[in-house]
Subunit: 258 residues, 2 copies
DNA sequence: ATTCGGCACTTATACATACAAGTTCACCAG
DNA sequence: CTGGTGAACTTGTATGTATAAGTGCCGAAT
């Protein structure tokens, strides 16, 4: 199972510093660089890989910002612990995520519809009131147990691709990517809601059970919204973690909702 | 109100790239660089500030990883929107956060006790079973309305400082920092729980109401745990957001809890 | 024995340079 | 008018160099 963006064979095509960062991450997960141990100095790494300090430092900076490596000026960098971060596609795709866990992802599609977008989705996707959009409503499973409810709205341009796709067959994210859709950034808003009667029924829970909700607005590289999703997780099966340190500005925000 | 780590007067002491990043962020929040507009090329910024490309690129990289700036090779960088990220201390301190919102933070201490740490806290803090720790139990307010319940456990070395502190007077984080405690990184785990009877009473809600829970393990620069906290937010008042893009590896992780 | 200074090593910061690779746009041929 | 070519400009990557600043250790002086 490969936790990283690129299969090993493709790694040679990546820029040097990404290749290094990949290699370093692998050494950590394989235990060659054990948690708590200090890793080689930048100079040694340069010698080993035959590069200048630039790429080595970029690679280390990537690990640092994930919290996998700590240590600073004068102090050799140390491994802080198991790397706890997922590539963009692993985080975006329920299917890919489940596979890295060694679980079997599943999905049951309740509805794929073209209709006027809900007010919340229309606002997020910057669509005119009453504008058409494509909505997908699925339950997602881990090893056969329901784990999440997914209500996703796509802008028409992207959504129309879905009518040629069996949404019970797997990852929408992967499918859209393959067909050239530009999904390259997302804003996640995390809160908690009580399960509606429908939610409860689908997840085999009592109505009112707390659910962990992730609302996601996915955009193109140019910043144009593409997809809006309201995903509700069973908190007993899933939660979210994030690392945060004084050097690197937190990319996690606590929001007050008036 | 200053959203940033350093007051303006101290900015001169920072490294150049941090000064630039500070300046850039300010230009964005002040609207000099409006959302959607493209900002000056790296070369222009170099000329303006009389530096080489290195620091400018570092500063832009910081903004990029926060999702404030997008754009890539060939394409001039563009402002994506209002900067949505908080400094480490703003995120860690409820008091500081409330102040940046223009709200009045409040707190009511229910208990400060030295006792054997709870099993969950002891495990996280790497304390022996039955080892002593200092626990603080507070309700936090925004403009007088209860917004969060805080159950925090400190290792004895740090916790003892709290017996000389009026925990009703304000920020424990700021107090500990002033007294030299090393709080420099944290791991946040976010999920949802049902309000217990006690929780409900303190937050003026019905028992069973969904609460947004943030469990936080704060550590020193060397990776030694210092503080463990179980904070429960009213989801109608608070939620969390995070940015995520294809270039920069997600520092947000979806976790499966077996 | 202890303390203090300084050396050797490390990382952090900064600059100059070169080239690769993508975008935009004007211009020209058809 | 259309479509393609290429120049000019942009950012990405990589190298080399120099200096500042923090850490840890050893040895000399006290």
């Amino acid at each position: 199972m490969n936790l990283y963006d690129q299969p090993m064979d493709d790694v040679v095509n990546l820029p040097l510093h990404q290749r290094l960062s990949h290699e370093f991450r692998q050494r950590i997960t394989e235990g060659i660089w054990a948690p708590g141990s200090q890793l080689p100095s930048e100079a040694e790494l340069c010698r080993e890989f035959g590069t200048s300090r630039g790429p080595v430092r970029q690679a280390l900076a990537a690990l640092r910002s994930e919290g996998a490596v700590i240590g600073g000026r004068g102090r050799p960098p140390m491994v802080r612990g198991q790397v706890q971060s997922q590539s963009f596609s692993t985080f975006m795709s329920f299917t890919e995520w489940a596979q890295t866990l060694g679980k079997v992802p599943g999905q049951h599609t309740l509805e794929v519809a073209r209709r006027a977008a809900s007010p919340a989705a229309a606002a997020q996707l910057m669509l005119d009131d009453g504008a058409q959009a494509v909505e997908v409503f699925r339950v997602r499973f881990l090893d056969g147990t329901p784990a999440m409810i997914e209500r996703t709205t796509f802008i028409p341009d992207v959504g129309r691709l879905l009518f040629d796709f069996d949404t019970d067959s797997g990852s929408i994210f992967a499918y859209l990517k393959r067909h050239g859709a530009d999904l390259s950034s997302a804003r996640h808003t995390i809160d908690a809601v009580a399960a509606t009667d429908r939610d409860a029924e689908l997840l085999h829970q009592e109505p009112g059970t707390p659910l962990l909700r992730e609302r996601r607005l996915t955009s193109t590289a140019g910043g144009h919204p593409v997809e809006y999703s309201d995903d509700r997780y069973l908190p007993s099966l899933t939660n979210f973690t994030i690392e945060n340190n004084a050097q690197h500005r937190a990319n996690l925000v606590r929001i007050h909702t008036a």
